[in-house]
């Protein structure tokens, strides 16, 4: 197990170097004329050259990459043209908001998806099962930005049950930052009003993001429940008269754990990608919205930084998932 863990961690370094090169090429080489973009459309040739010299854009590409990567290692992602602030600071502010949303939607997906799949598996081929199957298939085809708008329309505008957008209302001040997750920070500070509001603000965007994962985990859970119920040992225990609820709990709970891991492995990247859409719909001040605004303003430093940050989070999340797989199933870790 330890060897497997070390092996996996050792693999991260080349991956990160490759990722930074890829992102660098997309952000600095692809646009063709980054200095011209930074200087703006009305700049003179001299102004452009001055900017190119200032940002080191007149240097050969490998030199530029070296400068960039040493800067990143020191926590310097350059400045945003749009906000005029260092990108690293912006990122530190926006990343926790995105992660809070991603975690909360994973939590919702597990909370809702596992029981759904379990019910569908137990009542296989019943009307309930069919309904769940049709629902999950539709859920996977639902565009998130459309779902978000519909939820806003129904629960925010027509019923006025839940807030439309943002993380907190203007009148409530955010809790002092510890983790950057408003729900956790407000609990640490003992501020129940802020906790209540931040939770209410989370529900719609998290539900929007969770719909497709709910469908997937329900499908995984359904088929693993069916598989378990057909096993000989389960049939034997049934014949011995053990209550089905006990049998289910005993074997299916283990499956629930591995279904959850599979889901997280499958969906972390997808969720991080979809924050771009969901954050736009709900004006959620995370890195997705930040990246979108940066792209629309042709502001490349934030785009590079966000892409890199998402890649790193994705790599780390997959590492954790793979390690936990190893814990759950020793066969996996013995392979390497």
């Amino acid at each position: 197990m330890l060897r497997y863990a070390l092996f996996r961690i050792a693999l991260i370094a080349p991956l990160l170097i490759g990722l930074s090169m890829l992102v660098f090429v997309i952000g600095r080489v692809l646009p063709g004329d980054p200095a011209g973009l930074a200087a703006g459309p009305y700049a003179t040739m001299e102004q452009r050259e001055a900017i190119a010299a200032e940002y080191g854009l007149d240097q050969p590409i490998p030199v530029q990459y070296w400068r960039y990567i040493t800067g990143v290692l020191e926590g310097d992602f350059g400045r945003s043209l749009m906000t005029r602030r260092p990108v690293a600071g912006d990122l530190a502010g926006y990343l926790p908001a995105t992660l809070e949303l991603v975690f909360f939607s994973l939590f919702l997906a597990i909370l809702i998806g596992i029981p759904l799949g379990l019910i569908a598996g137990i009542r296989r081929n019943s009307a309930t099962d069919m309904t769940i199957a049709a629902g999950t298939l539709s859920a996977m085809s639902m565009p998130q930005f459309f779902l978000g708008l519909v939820l806003q329309l129904i629960f925010g505008m027509m019923l006025s049950w839940l807030p439309l957008s943002g993380r907190l209302p203007f009148i409530v001040s955010p809790p002092p930052g510890v983790t950057g997750f408003y729900t956790i920070d407000s609990l640490i500070a003992g501020d129940l009003t802020a906790f209540r509001y931040s939770l209410l603000h989370l529900i719609l965007p998290a539900l929007t993001m969770a719909l497709a994962p709910i469908a997937t985990i329900a499908r995984i859970m359904r088929s693993s429940t069916i598989e378990v119920l057909q096993q000989d040992y389960v049939q034997t225990e049934r014949a011995l008269g053990l209550p089905s609820s006990l049998i289910l709990f005993k074997y299916v709970s283990k499956n629930a754990a591995s279904a959850t891991l599979t889901l997280i492995g499958l969906y972390v990247g997808w969720l991080l990608g979809s924050t771009v859409l969901v954050e736009k719909v709900f004006d959620w001040p995370g890195i997705g919205l930040y990246a979108t605004n940066a792209i629309l303003n042709q502001d490349f430093n934030p785009v590079i930084a966000v892409t890199l940050a998402i890649g790193v989070v994705f790599i780390l999340a997959n590492l954790v998932v793979d390690m936990l797989y190893g814990v759950l199933n020793p066969k996996v870790s013995n392979k390497q």
């Binding site: 646009p31 997808w270 859409l277 792209i295 892409t307």
Partner: protein, 299 residues
Amino acid sequence: MSEVVQSTGSAATRSARRTNWARGFYRFRQNPLSVVGLVIVVLLLLLALFGEYIAPYPEHLNGELNVANRFQPPSAEFWFGTNEVGQDIFSLVLAGARISLLSGIAVIVVATLIGTFIGVIAGYFGSWLDEVLMRFTDLVLTLPALILAMAIAAGLGPSIPNMILALALAWWPGFARMARGEVLSTKAELYVLAAKAQGGGNTRILTRHILPNITSPIIVKMSLDVGFAILAVASLGFIGIGVRPPTPEWGVMLSVSRSNLPHFWWTAIFPGMAIFLSVLSFNFMGDGLRDVFDPRARR
């Protein structure tokens, strides 16, 4: 050896192929949802080709405004209502089918070409070439496709061809991995070894013996991916990268409609339903095709 079989048994092969098609269609029909998906997909493709001609208000597609009729609710005159400049939303949604569907299909075709090329080269030639190409593929996979496509699209600048290229450049790794895996298993088949033993060159073996035998899984993946590519095109339109207003693209229409809610809900609901329906129907159809080509995946 394969040459001999081909030359003597072409009639038999043809009839065997026909039986295969019949069997495939039978399997496809077994799943009613796939048939529904296929019917809707065919309808959508017809709309994509001829939508402009049956639109009740074709002049609105060329940007003509009718401000006197702005924000009309759905009625017999305007089936889906009108938008903020009085254009008929039904006409716009019909015209949007062309951009969304054709872009989605184009993304998948380009991604398939790139991915299959890389995957086949990696799988067939193996050794260091395989290592380099596959590590690069893994690297691209560490970034969520949408984020990667956004970043590339931002670098390339806004236009429909650039958006298609950006999405394809984010989409090919799945095809590369699949093609490589298929080539690896096909490469070991006896007929490939036989062709090699007869002195067949790499190009001939690849194009005559390997490619024809890896097409069906690739076609299945293509059909399963088209729905998601349509979704991705609409997503980029919604964000504001790629197709720009006033081009009638479904994602763009949804994005514009946000400021019209809640009173003018029809400006959002109909384009949104159009996206949902086309993604859903492609997914249903793709499921059916998978049943046909890969019966093992059936449950």
